[in-house]
Each structure stands twice: as C-alpha cells, then as structure tokens.
C-alpha cells in the first residue's frame, strides 16, 4: 500500500515525464496525447470539487466545458475574421490572447454555474443528476442549431491562440501551459479540501441537516463549490478548444459530461489525484486499445469493469488500500 501523499507527488511527476521523454524521442504526438490527458484531467479536477467533496453528481458539466470552448471559439473567430463581436448594443473586439480568453471562459462558466446551480440545488440525488443533464441538453441543442457559429459543424480556428512569451504551436510549450494550469487547479483543490470551507462542504454532503443546525447554509456551500467547479471546467474547455483549434457542440454533449464522471470514478472519487490518474489511464487506454482491433470498445469496457469490481475507490483507492467517500 502506498500513502496518498506519495501518489499526490508521483502522479504529476509521471505526467510531466511522459512528454519530456517524448520530446527527446521525437514523438510529438505523445505530447499531444499527454496534453489531452492534462486538459481532461483539469476538467475532471473541476468536477471533482463539486462531486468529490460536495457530493454533487453533475451530469451537466459539459455545459461549462463547452462554454469555455465557445468562449475561445467565438473570440478567436472574430479575431480571425476581423469582425467585431456584438452583444446587444455592446461591441467587443475578438482576441487571440489566451489569458484574455481564459478570463472570459472562467467568468462565463462561473456565471452559468451560478444560475444552473441555484436552480438545480433545489433538488438532490438522482434528480440533481437529471436536472443538470437537462441543462446540458439545452445548451447542446442550442449550439447545434446556432448557425451563426457553425451549428453542428462547429468552428475551426486556424492558428492556436497565443500566450505572451511562448510559442503555443510548439506542442511541448502548449503542454507546459496546460500542465501549469492543472497544477494550479490541483493546488487549489488541495487547499480547498483542507480549508474551513472544505470541511463545511464535506459535512454538507453527508449531513446537510447537521450543517444547518450549526448555523451554516448547506445550499450556499454547495452552490459555491458548484461555481468554483464550473469555472475550472470552463477553463479546461478553453484549453481543449485550443488544443484542437476547433469547437463544436459535441463539447456540450451528455457523453462528455458522463466521461468526466467516469474519469473521476476510474481514478477515485474525492481523491486529489483521482481525476488525473483517471484521465491519463483513459486516454492511454483509448490510444493503445484503439490500435488493437476494430472492436476495441469491448476491451475498454472489460478493463473499466475490472476497475469497478476489483478496485474499490478507483485506482488511487487500490493503491492506497482505502475506499473513498461514498457518493
């Protein structure tokens, strides 16, 4: 059995080592894969704040992922076409600067999370899962038929957005950007769960009535968690769009929301490194199994089933020998 502390240290190092090795071995695609894993991990780290600590099983986190993606897509689209972005009487210039795009992505997804959270938190349990799914589907169908930005076809951005002082087109540099963001999010997550807020949120998941009787409002705690969670996932969406230089409604799809949950469950619910381990494993499986046979999904299914049946508390749980929180 390995202490969780070691895992928390080893996993990011391993994730860093892979692209560095690939750089030396001149396998740029491996860097792209690592970047994909990093970004998906970031999205799942966001979800894990709501899900792992707050117990909010959101099947609508693709909303924030997609909003982040479209924030990037729309801003860069207008910059690319030199056309201003008009919202009612206001006009904005598009931009190809990552920091600006990130800021917009975070703000937009946080606001959406506030709204969706405020409505959804009236419910709990499976009803919560389904109402968040409903919001996800609304955004999805809206995006599909929103022809101004490509509808179902999506939006292509020809050149990756820029980050001051870096050439983001170089795979390893873009990876570095994503990796640093992921580490910051992990640090935020670790800080949150040890903080007073984390303690209260953790209790709000398990016994909301107890939290009330000590004078705290469990709803507001959960809403706060949902907003932070949505903002991080939104940021991941912006990065994902930049990785692909493309956004489409599939970023809003319920399959994506489900995939984020699945990443977390594979890694270990409520574990700091759960989402990271889950994302790396999933991307690696997808990549390796995909080459084996046309029917590789069967084997992916078998591996996932093995994880559920034999690794209580996900892979991190298996390594540490402890089950995670009950969600």
């Amino acid at each position: 059995m390995i202490g969780e502390r070691w895992i928390n240290l080893a996993v990011p190092l391993a994730l860093l080592a892979v692209p560095l090795y690939a750089l030396m071995a001149d396998e740029p695609f491996t860097i792209t894969l690592a970047t994909r894993a990093t970004i998906l991990a970031l999205a799942a780290v966001g979800l894990n704040i709501a899900l792992g600590i707050g117990g909010l099983v959101s099947l609508g986190h693709a909303v924030f992922f997609g909003l982040g993606g479209y924030a990037m897509g729309i801003l860069a689209f207008h910059a690319q076409n030199y056309s201003p972005l008009e919202i009612g009487p206001l006009t904005f210039a598009g931009t190809k600067s990552m920091p600006v795009i990130w800021l917009v992505a975070v703000i937009v997804s946080a606001m959406a999370a506030l709204l969706i959270g405020a409505l959804s938190l009236r419910t709990s349990g499976v009803y919560f899962i389904m109402i968040t799914l409903a919001f996800g589907q609304m955004f999805y169908y809206f995006a599909i038929s929103w022809s101004a930005y490509g509808g179902e076809d999506g939006l292509s951005i020809y050149v990756r957005n820029g980050f001051p002082g870096l050439n983001t087109l170089v795979p390893i540099q873009f990876f570095a950007v994503c990796f640093v963001v992921l580490c910051l999010a992990l640090a935020l997550n670790a800080m949150l769960r040890a903080s007073p807020f984390g303690l209260a949120l953790n209790a709000a998941r398990q016994v909301p009535q107890r939290v009330e009787t000590v004078g705290l409002n469990p709803m507001r705690l959960k809403l706060m968690a949902f907003v932070i969670s949505g903002a991080i996932t939104g940021l991941a969406g912006a990065l994902f769009a930049d990785l692909n230089r493309f956004v489409s409604p599939s970023m809003f799809s319920w399959q994506l929301s489900g995939e984020l949950i699945i990443l977390i469950v594979i890694g270990g619910v409520g574990r700091l490194m759960g989402p990271v381990v889950g994302a790396c494993l999933f991307v690696a499986l997808e990549h390796w199994l995909g080459g084996l046979t046309d029917f590789w999904h069967v084997w992916l299914g078998v591996v996932l089933l093995g994880i559920v049946l034999f690794a209580r508390g996900g892979v991190v749980g298996l390594l540490t020998g402890k089950a995670g929180p009950h969600v």
Partner: protein, 306 residues
C-alpha cells in the same frame, strides 16, 4: 391547421408517450425499486431488438420474435445482475454508473461484432400493418394502436406487481434496507436477479416492439436511455404512476412542441428562420419541461422522497 389534425397530433403525442413508457417501464422497475442507476438499460433494449430481428428473420414469426426478445434480454439481464451488478449494491452509486457504462461499451460493440455494422431488418407483421380509420376520420396505424394497448397493459401489470403483490412489497422493502430484508428471511439476491431480469425483459420487449417501426442498429439504445430517464425523473422515481404520467407529458410536449413551436415563430419571423428556431426550441422542450418540473417539485410529480 384543422381540428382533426390537431386531434390526430394529440393522439400521436399520447401514443409516443405510451411508447416512451414502454421503454421506461423496465428502467423504473430497476431504478426505482432497486435504486440502481442502470445505464445499460438502453443496451438491453438493443439486445431485445436484435434478438427479435434475428428470430423474425429466421422464422418469419413476429410473435416468436417478441418472445425471443423478452427471453434474450431477460437472460442477458440475469447474467449481468449475477456477474456484475450483484457486487455493486453496496458500492457508491457512481461505481454503478461506471460499471453500467462499461456494459454499454461491451454490449454495443459486442453486438456489432456479432451482427455487423449495418442496421437489421425487423418489420411490422402483416396482420398489424396499415392504417385503420378511427372515429372522426383519422387514419391511424393499427400497429401504433397495438403499442398503446401493450403499454397500458404493462403499466397496469407493473403497478399491480409493485403495489399489490407481496413480491412487490419485498422488492420495495429491499430498496430501503437490503440487509434487513435478508435478515428477516427474504432471499434478496434471488429477488433482485428476478427483478433485474424482469426489467431487462421489459426493455427487450420494448426494443422489439419499437424496433419494428424504427431502425434496429447498434447504438439505438442510448437516446432511448436519456428519454427514459427524463420520463421517470419527471414522474418521480419509484412511481409507476409517475412514470406513466411523465411519459405522456414528455410525449405530448415533444410532439406538439415540434409542430406548434415553428408555427408560433412564423407569426413574427420569416418562415425559414421560424422553422429553424422553432424546431431548435422544440428539441429542447422536454428538457425545459423537466427542469421546470424539478424546480417546481424537486422530487418529481409523484416522487415519494423529499
């Protein structure tokens, strides 16, 4: 739009609702009663449709095909329950989500492995095909009327089973406290295998019945799964009555929304854009309905638990 057309569309909406109920019935049973989030329900639906198509192809008998669908899906369900689900009752809900997601992958690609990548042929039998004329002059497909009949029968049967039989009481008791039911002398494992098989069988039956007027293909189960979840959540989990009302509501909303929203938008937009906007909104309609219902009543229309 004539009154007869409107009446026909309302009938279509109801009929679609009953069809949704047929698809959701098995899910309500498993989900409401056993508290299990079974994402693989859509796969069992697909198994039923494929089994029916295979048997109908081989024997030419639609009734045999239905029996085969029921049996194949129930068997698949029983196996799945004994091999996988049984170990997960005590596990967190999310483990069940992951496990049943894995099952979707296995079922979908496994089916493609066995049956190939192309849709299969399954059609309405001659004795049920073609329209009949209803009072009011509506020409309505006989098969759809038959679907309504089966849906109503399933609804009544399920309600009777869970509310009126001792088996049903035991099943519901098991959802509250599995350990205690066992400690008081009920073979809960067998009971759950039975329920799961029954739920799966209903899914398979729905797959075959609905498959006859739709496309029998890999992946046909996933959209159904989402719709079925929407239905049972609107109705309130664990309530057969809720699922039934929920299904009718969703059916009506979807059908009538698809027709009237574009018309509505045509009142103040040019026709092309109105159709597009209207149908975009129509595709969101059931989700809007669901969130309104849940914001209004956080545990569905007939949900027991707060």
């Amino acid at each position: 739009m004539s009154l007869v057309l409107i009446a026909e569309q309302v009938l279509n909406g109801l009929q679609f609702g009953v069809m949704l109920f047929l698809m959701a019935a098995g899910l309500t049973l498993i989900f409401g009663v056993m508290g299990l989030i079974n994402l693989a329900h859509g796969s069992l639906y697909m198994v039923g449709a494929f089994a029916a198509a295979a048997v109908a192809g081989a024997t030419g008998s639609f009734l045999l095909a239905l029996v085969a669908a029921l049996a194949a899906a129930a068997l698949a369900g029983a196996i799945v329950e004994m091999v996988v689900i049984r170990r997960l009752y005590a596990a967190p809900h999310l483990d069940q989500v992951l496990a049943t997601f894995a099952l979707i992958l296995i079922f979908s690609e496994g089916t493609r492995w066995v049956f190939g990548s192309f849709p299969l042929y399954l059609d309405i039998p001659d004795w049920l095909s073609g329209p009949v004329t209803l009072p009011g002059g509506i020409a309505y497909p006989l098969y759809r009327l038959a679907l309504i009949g089966v849906g109503l029968a399933v609804a009544a049967g399920l309600w009777w089973l869970t509310a009126r039989t001792r088996l049903g009481i035991q099943i519901r008791a098991g959802e509250n406290d599995r350990e205690m039911v066992a400690a008081l002398g009920v073979d809960i494992s067998r009971l759950y295998t039975l329920v799961f098989a029954l739920g799966a069988g209903l899914a398979g039956l729905a797959g075959a019945l609905v498959g006859a007027i739709q496309s029998v293909q890999v992946g046909m189960g996933e959209p159904v799964l989402i719709l079925a979840f929407v239905v049972i959540v609107i109705g309130g989990i664990g309530s057969i009555k809720g699922a039934f009302i929920g299904a009718l509501l969703v059916g009506l909303t979807d059908t009538l929304g698809g027709i009237f929203l574009p018309e509505l938008f045509k009142l103040f937009m040019e026709p092309g854009a109105a159709t597009q906007t209207g149908s975009a909104l129509a595709s969101m309609a059931i989700y809007i309905l669901m969130s309104l219902v849940l914001v209004w009543r956080p545990s569905g229309l007939f949900g027991a638990r707060a």
